[in-house]
């Protein structure tokens, strides 16, 4: 027995992280005449953390306070929604498991998939809202009456890379109120509206890792003994020459060129991490370049044309490169026109047609 049809204003649930982007998103929605409800997902038990630790990452308890202050300032109801167990099971655990497999995971995608665009979509319906809004740099556009996700006006900040798992059915329910703005404009609006987060620094890195670094975080999750088993050898790619011992495969990512503790004068790069043998392969940068990659768990929001050349991004800060995509067994094969550097398992390859997000999948090789 929904009341949403009887209400004069459309009701929006806005995910507020306590950062400037989602704060401005909420404020703009109020200006646009929506009935706005703010919510922060409590994803991690911060009672154990040092109070300074969360500063500047995207979901610490101080950030919850900031989100609440903004909500009070723009006079909207605000709630903290507990998602700790869901976050652990769908973001933290896979993150740790990926590292233990020698991969470089991308937890923000899982957070969007399972928390923002599943748990919060569910909350949105439970709270009888018409829309869910976030502070992502992305846009919702329509073509022949069908909604799709498009890149943001600010190329540098565009976050559609993290949105490739979004279900097409929920796209009409989403609002990205700042996707048409440049970051400096967002800060300007925050300042004009007197939001306390106007000058807050952008979140960097992974919110739940904090200042302790990946190695320590993984150790805190799996224990020291499991990590000792991650130790192994550095070998020269491709001849296999043993170059030394490393402190665990979870410390290395493809393309990395520092932090080996080896006494070699030549510039070496991580070419490959082999979780089965715990081998980290080092070699000349030229070995990092490849034409092809395979994707698993492909999510598509549109028809894929195997003859079409798409723009494919293989990491968040990658500009994208032209490639063709073909179905290949259970997965998909992406073939780039030009060789790409450091194609990294665990990261996503995300497919665009011009500004339109088509889909993406997880890189396996």
């Amino acid at each position: 027995m929904s009341q949403s049809n009887m209400r004069a204003k459309k009701r929006v649930l806005v995910a507020m992280s306590g950062g400037v982007d989602s704060s401005v998103a909420a404020a703009l929605l109020v200006d646009q005449g929506y009935e706005v409800i703010g919510a922060t997902m409590q994803v991690w038990d911060y009672s154990q953390c040092d109070i300074e630790e969360g500063n500047g990452t995207c979901c610490s308890s101080l950030d919850v306070d900031d989100a609440r202050s903004v909500a009070d300032k723009i006079k909207i109801p605000f709630y903290v929604i507990n998602c700790e167990s869901k976050f652990k099971e769908s973001v933290i655990d896979p993150f740790v498991a990926d590292y233990m497999k020698g991969q470089t995971p991308l937890p923000c995608v899982n957070c969007n998939t399972y928390l923002k665009f599943d748990h919060l979509i569910h909350k949105m319906r439970e709270l009888d809202c018409d829309y869910l809004a976030t502070g992502h740099y992305a846009q919702i556009q329509t073509e022949n009456g069908k909604s799709f996700i498009a890149t943001s006006v600010d190329d540098w900040k565009d976050q559609t890379y993290f949105l490739f798992t979004t279900n097409s059915e929920i796209i009409p329910k989403l609002l990205f109120p700042i996707g048409h703005l440049q970051k400096p404009d967002v800060r300007k609006i925050a300042e004009e509206k007197g939001l306390i987060v106007a000058k807050k620094k952008d979140s960097q890195g992974i919110c739940f890792v904090g200042n302790q670094g990946y190695g320590n975080f993984i150790e805190s999750q799996v224990g020291k003994k499991a990590l000792d088993e991650m130790r192994g050898l550095f070998r020269r790619y491709p001849n296999g020459e043993v170059m030394g011992e490393h402190k665990g495969i979870h410390h290395y990512t493809y393309g990395q060129s520092k932090g080996f503790g080896l006494d070699h004068h030549e510039k070496m790069f991580v070419i490959k991490v082999d979780a089965d043998t715990k081998t980290v392969w080092l070699g000349d940068e030229s070995y990092l370049f490849g034409h092809d990659l395979t994707l698993r768990d492909m999510k598509l929001m549109d028809q894929l044309d195997e003859e079409q050349i798409y723009n494919v991004k293989i990491r968040y800060q990658h500009k994208g490169a032209p490639a063709k995509i073909k179905k290949d067994g259970n997965g998909f094969k992406v073939s780039f026109v030009d060789k790409q550097r450091a194609i990294t398992p665990g990261q996503a390859a995300v497919i665009y047609k011009d500004k339109k997000l088509i889909g993406g999948g997880w890189i396996v090789v």
Binding site: M1, I37, K75, P77, Y79, N82, K123, L127, D128
Partner: protein, 393 residues
């Protein structure tokens, strides 16, 4: 900017609205700014306010004014008493009895002295929220320093047989403390008759101001201050007195003595019972908690099968009904209520809890509206869940 709200307030166990009569008095008290401990005459006004407040409160609780110590509220009072008794009696009597459903301020104070070597026996409750007196009997001994049991539970409203505990404690020389924060203004209370050695109170639970409260310590009962400082409260609590908060509590004690409190409490009970009868009749699988036990007349606690309390609470809030899932102090805490777990409910049952607590200004018409709205929200959420289950299958 002060937020004003427009809605039906049904969370009087979290805090009560400031009594309208205080809006007239507080401004005049504000001119009495002097430090009550000063030598000069500016101290006379505030000192008089405090003295009168103490007299009114003591009279309404049937104790001596000197047995009351003003402080910041019951959290401070609970900490002061539990820690003082460990310090004063812990060597000879290292054992404490405490109910498993106390307020966190008492629980955590107990855990603090546990770390210092005290043995704490947590008294269980049954599914109706009733205290296991047999357990008390079994664990009470000449080693027991203190029994600490609240008079009324903040979440379920269950009344505990504190007078019985006093009788039992007498035999072994144990002291008895009762957190009475949910009693004053919500139930008749005569501390002398109750016979406890200590009791703790917060002003904001009986229509006074926040940040002021008091504790009762019987003349013969040992006490140590938690806060070192000046000679205030006869060295039992340092810090310049909260004159406004204290005067407000005294005023409310006076008001309660003059009004027919009992009639008001009976009236609330009738409204509460009517509301519960309608809820049970109109919302399937709604269970009223502790209904079989003696309860405060203003409190109604329920479990609504399959309904996530957090979601329900937000929905009600958005519609202007202010209720609670349990204790206000635990809100935002994902853990289910320890009170409900202690009563033997499962974690998932405990996550479906809703507390409605009535106050002096609650109207039957408001409860009508509340029942209607709750019914609609529950049915919508249940329908959504059903639809979702069908899709998944």
């Amino acid at each position: 900017m002060i937020n004003t709200f427009d809605g039906v307030y049904l969370d009087h166990n979290a805090t009560t609205p400031v009594d309208p009569s205080l809006f007239e008095h507080v401004p005049s008290w504000m001119s009495q700014f002097g430090n009550p401990s000063s030598i000069h005459q500016a101290s006379r006004g505030p000192r008089t306010l405090i003295r009168e407040a103490r007299a009114h409160l003591a009279a309404s609780l049937n104790v001596s004014p000197l047995e009351l110590v003003f402080n910041s509220g019951a959290s401070e009072g609970n900490n002061t008493i539990i820690k003082a008794i460990w310090d004063r009696r812990g060597k000879e009597r290292p054992e404490f009895l405490c109910s498993a459903v106390e307020h966190p301020s008492a629980m955590k104070a107990m855990q603090a002295i546990q770390k210092k070597g005290a043995t704490v026996h947590w008294i269980p409750v049954n599914k109706n929220g009733e205290l296991d007196l047999k357990f008390v009997e079994q664990h009470l001994s000449a080693k027991t320093a203190l029994i600490s049991v609240m008079s009324a539970n903040n979440e379920t409203g269950t009344l505990f047989p504190v007078a019985n505990l006093v009788e039992m404690a007498k035999n072994v020389g144990a002291l008895v403390h009762s957190d009475c924060v949910q009693m004053f203004g919500k139930h008749q209370l005569d501390l002398k008759k109750l016979g406890v050695d200590y009791a703790t109170f917060s002003g904001h639970k009986f229509y006074s101001l926040k940040g002021a409260g008091f504790m009762y310590a019987k003349k013969t009962a040992p006490l140590e201050n938690l806060i070192d400082g000046g000679a205030q409260e006869r060295f039992r609590r340092g810090g310049t007195e909260n004159t406004l908060g204290i005067a407000a509590m005294g005023h409310m004690a006076q008001k309660m003595a003059a009004m027919n409190l009992n009639a008001k409490l009976v009236e609330l009970g009738q409204m509460r019972d009517q509301m519960e009868a309608r809820l049970v009749a109109e919302i399937p699988e709604l269970h009223i908690t502790a209904q079989g036990a003696p309860r405060l007349t203003n409190t109604s606690h329920m479990l609504i099968a399959g309904i996530d309390a957090e979601t329900l609470l937000i929905n009600l809030d958005l519609d202007g009904f202010f209720v609670s899932t349990g204790a206000a102090c635990s809100s935002g805490n994902p853990e289910p209520s320890p009170v409900l777990l202690a009563m033997g409910f499962t974690r998932s049952e405990a996550q479906t809890s809703l507390r409605v607590s009535l106050g002096w200004s609650t109207k039957a018409a408001d409860l009508e509206k509340f029942v209607q709205r709750l019914k609609e929200i529950v049915s919508r959420l249940r329908q959504m869940k059903k639809d979702l289950d069908n899709v998944t299958v």
